[in-house]
């Protein structure tokens, strides 16, 4: 196999290289295994995928919307994510656009999982254990990462982090391919994909120094020829080689990074109050929008706070891999250094940059920023597993048991392989409940009914910027109810004149002076407006940050009808709730489609102005919680008054979640937890039986509510 005419030293080097190089058949086997692991991960992600919009990410609704309309996301803009999302939203004929964007996270996340296996199995040292055990170690590390708490949570929603892992894995694979071939073309592919990966997360740029060091070490520190048969290059030739790589690499990277020229083209679509101040229409603003974005969040902690921040990171790492995974990773660090020193500087360099930067980053969804570090830790973990297997083999040989090649039957080898892979099932079991968002339908259920109930030519006030996209999504993607004005959609600072002659509704009644820059401007509606909830949605079970409960308010200048005289409710209860007595209720008696609304009127006789919060349940499921009088009672009593014999009436529509199976359920009202013991020990009232039917798929309902002929459908 060694070409003739090569000296003895070079011949030895080439032989050792040939031994290390994977055979073509092995390479194909590994590709199939990688594809299988990625496919398995994809199946689990799809099974737990969010059906449509979700609050699990603060920017999720924006990132589900912007790609479909080729708009511009919040800084740093994410051009590649936007373009990939555009193709997913157009090409996948499944579900709605938000569902397709969630699927993009699953598919590209699974791609990153496959890439992880290929990277690891290529790097694990052949001299330590046999091929089967290396494959087991690589597969174990891959599955532990695939179903780790944080990465999995991002692979089932519309966010940039799972696609970014896909791009990062591809970048590393191409870099390792170049290391093997040393072809300039492979190097340019690597540089191009690396440049493109900035469009899924700008922090990838921080990996450049470690990659550059690896490239230099590979070009200058490796004495043998890259391929058997090639001459060992001289120093002068290496210098030329380096110059060619720098020029070609810079050009390819620049081509990838040129995606950010997209930003000025779409700057006019920005409606976020933060982003609009740095709209990328000048070079200075382009810098501010990309590399200069969120500077106030970087290195935001003094030296004294750093130990706590490091421990927070370690805590995240324990959440992903457990203490055992940390120990295996530490062992793997040493193994990687000894057996693959150049790769040590690449992988550990990348890892340290990620950890160093983000431990000092002030973000409330901090855990997601460490996903690349967890990805790299999985590689270390695989090295640790190999060392443990090696140790077990050594100990077995000391007691006279042979575990080497040829000693074990194929059945025993398969059994041992399964034993090694078993721990990878643990995170699936542990994290399934936390990451299963397949029943997260609250936002779509709510908005489908909002669009159904808003009067013609009304206006809907929403939060500004990224927090408003749960409403903007429908009009931007599906052109839903174009007669309804969303004043915060075109601009974060609309004029109150734009609401003239329209009935005004809102999904928030918190204004900017009370709720920060993402709340609508304080002067958009008169400060003395009354805001009465007319539709209440179920609160999404899983969300990040604090969001207002899903509610549709009707704004009015005159007091709403909070009281009624001579009511004769269909269900008489006379239940004593402490501060108030529930005299009775009217509940619609028709069967209700899941995902539809239940009309409820509660009639109260109040003895004291003490606030009382109540919970409405359908069976055991909480539908909504509110304060009697919807928080308006004190003002109403002050400005209007409650006459003798008048009852307070809470009248509104409540969304029945589309996840409620068909059946007959008891509707009950009880005091909400967290109040005084006297209130909590008071009565619960049964308001009758509600029949829920399920004749239409949730997605079908949402798409019908979207009601558009948009090509995105």
């Amino acid at each position: 196999m060694v070409p003739p005419g090569i000296g003895p030293v070079a011949s030895t080097l080439i032989r050792s290289k040939l031994r290390d190089m994977p055979k073509p058949t092995n390479r194909w086997t590994d590709r199939w295994i990688a594809a299988g692991l990625g496919f398995f991960a994809l199946l689990v992600y799809l099974r737990t995928l969010t059906p449509s919009l979700s609050y699990l990410s603060p920017d999720g609704s924006e990132l589900a919307t912007v790609p479909a309309v080729l708009g511009l996301a919040h800084p740093p803009g994410y051009p590649l994510y936007t373009w990939l999302g555009f193709f997913f939203s157009r090409l996948l004929p499944i579900g709605d656009v938000a569902h397709r964007m969630n699927m993009m996270s699953a598919v590209l996340g699974a791609l990153g999982v496959s890439a992880l296996y290929l990277i690891v199995v290529r790097l694990l040292p052949a001299e330590r254990v046999g091929l089967l055990w290396r494959r087991c170690a690589a597969a174990l590390a891959t599955l532990l990462f695939a179903f780790s708490l944080t990465f999995w949570s991002q692979a089932v929603i519309a966010e940039v982090y799972a696609p970014n892992i896909g791009l990062l894995g591809l970048t590393l694979l191409l870099l390792l391919r170049w290391e093997r071939t040393r072809h300039l073309l492979d190097f340019s592919f690597f540089a191009l994909v690396f440049g493109l990966s900035l469009g899924t997360h700008m922090s990838n740029l921080g990996f450049a120094p470690a990659m550059a060091l690896f490239i230099l070490l590979t070009m200058f520190a490796v004495r043998d020829a890259p391929d058997p048969g090639q001459k060992v290059p001289t120093v002068g030739r290496r210098a030329w080689e380096l110059a060619a790589h720098v020029i070609i690499g810079a050009a390819a990277f620049g081509l990838g990074a040129a995606q950010f020229l997209w930003l000025p083209l779409r700057a006019s679509t920005i409606n976020d109050p933060l982003s609009i101040k740095i709209a990328p229409i000048t070079l200075a603003n382009l810098y501010q929008y990309t590399l200069g974005a969120f500077t106030q969040l970087r290195f935001a902690f003094p030296l004294g706070a750093l130990p706590d921040r490091v421990v927070i990171y370690v805590y995240f790492l324990v959440q992903q891999y457990g203490l055992g995974g940390i120990l295996l990773g530490v062992v793997g660090l040493g193994s990687l250094l000894v057996h693959r020193p150049r790769h040590f500087y690449l992988l550990v360099g990348m890892y340290l940059v990620n950890v160093w930067f983000f431990t000092q980053y002030r973000a409330f969804d901090l855990e997601v920023f460490f996903i690349p570090a967890h990805y790299l830790w999985a590689m270390l973990l695989a090295f640790g597993v190999v060392e443990v297997l090696r140790g077990i083999g050594w100990m077995a040989s000391r007691v006279g048991v042979c575990l080497g090649t040829g000693c074990l039957s194929s059945g025993m080898r398969a059994g041992l392989a399964i034993l090694i892979l078993l721990p990878s099932l643990t995170p699936i079991h542990w994290n399934w409940e936390k990451n299963n968002l397949s029943d997260d339908t609250a936002i779509n259920d709510f908005y489908a009914n909002v669009w159904d109930r808003l009067p013609a030519y009304s206006a809907l006030i929403t939060p500004r910027g990224v927090f408003g996209y749960d409403a903007f999504y429908w009009q931007l993607v599906y052109d839903t109810r174009p007669d309804v004005l969303l004043p915060l959609l075109p601009s974060p600072n609309p004029s109150s004149a734009s609401l003239a002659d329209r009935e005004v509704f809102g999904t928030t009644r918190t204004v900017s002076s009370k709720g920060g820059m993402f709340a609508p401007p304080a002067d958009l509606t008169p400060t003395d407006s009354w805001s009465l909830p007319v539709l209440l949605g179920q609160q999404p079970e899983k969300q990040i940050g604090r969001r207002e409960q899903l509610a549709l308010y009707r704004f009015s200048k005159s007091p709403p009808p909070l009281t009624i005289r001579g009511a004769s409710p269909a269900v008489a209860t006379h239940s004593n709730f402490g501060p108030a007595v529930l005299v009775g209720a009217d509940v619609s008696d028709q069967p209700i489609e899941s995902g539809g609304v239940l009309e409820v009127s509660l009639y109260w006789s109040s003895r004291a102005p003490t606030p009382l919060r109540v919970t409405l349940r359908l069976g055991s499921q909480v539908l909504e919680q509110h304060e009697v009088g919807f928080g308006l009672l004190a003002r109403y009593m002050r400005e209007v008054g409650i006459g003798p014999g008048e009852l307070i009436v809470d009248r509104c529509a409540v969304v029945i979640p589309s996840t409620v199976p068909p059946g007959r359920y008891t509707l009950t009202l009880s005091p909400q937890a967290g109040q005084s013991q006297a209130v909590l020990s008071s009565a619960s009232a049964s308001l009758g039986v509600v029949e829920v039917v399920d004749e239409m798929e949730a997605m079908e309902q949402w798409l019908r509510a979207a009601g558009s002929s948009s090509p995105a459908r």
Partner: protein
């Protein structure tokens, strides 16, 4: 191994450094918080003004915005244009706008004159645009003395 020694030695130092930093941090953490999870509360939730639909429009501290403040700490120095705070994360300077509102701990409206060195305050405000982003206070809430 011999030909890679010059690569391995610095790498070993890196690993040692990583382990030392981790162990040192854990030691400082346990010294500060004990064996609890108190120091792991890294989330200051970004909010869109979270509020329950049944609630009265203003929740939380009397007069305070219904969201997490952007900063909180003890007043170290106060001038017409800015206030210097000692916060848990270190010293911070907050700009004061002309129209900044001051709320006292009892819910009454106050003025800048009510703010004294040593007072514990919470700041609600907005970040200024530009490269050197600074927090500009819109509402300052004076908190009860601990």
């Amino acid at each position: 191994m011999a030909k890679s020694r010059w690569l391995i030695l610095p790498g070993a130092v890196v690993i040692l450094g990583m382990l030392c930093i981790a162990v040192f941090s854990l030691g400082v953490y346990v010294g500060k918080h004990g064996r609890t999870q108190d120091g792991l509360q890294y989330q200051a939730p970004r909010t869109n003004g979270a509020q329950l639909p049944g609630d009265a429009p203003a929740g939380g501290l009397a007069g305070a915005p219904a969201r997490t403040p952007e900063a909180a700490g003890l007043i170290r120095r106060i001038s017409r244009t800015q206030v210097d705070l000692t916060t848990r994360e270190g010293p911070r300077t907050i700009l004061l706008s002309e129209v900044v509102e001051v709320q006292l701990e009892d819910g009454h409206v106050g003025s800048r004159g009510d703010l004294k060195v040593g007072d514990l305050i919470a700041i609600f405000g907005q970040w200024t645009a530009g490269a050197t982003r600074e927090l500009e206070a819109e509402v300052i809430v004076r908190l009860p003395k601990q």
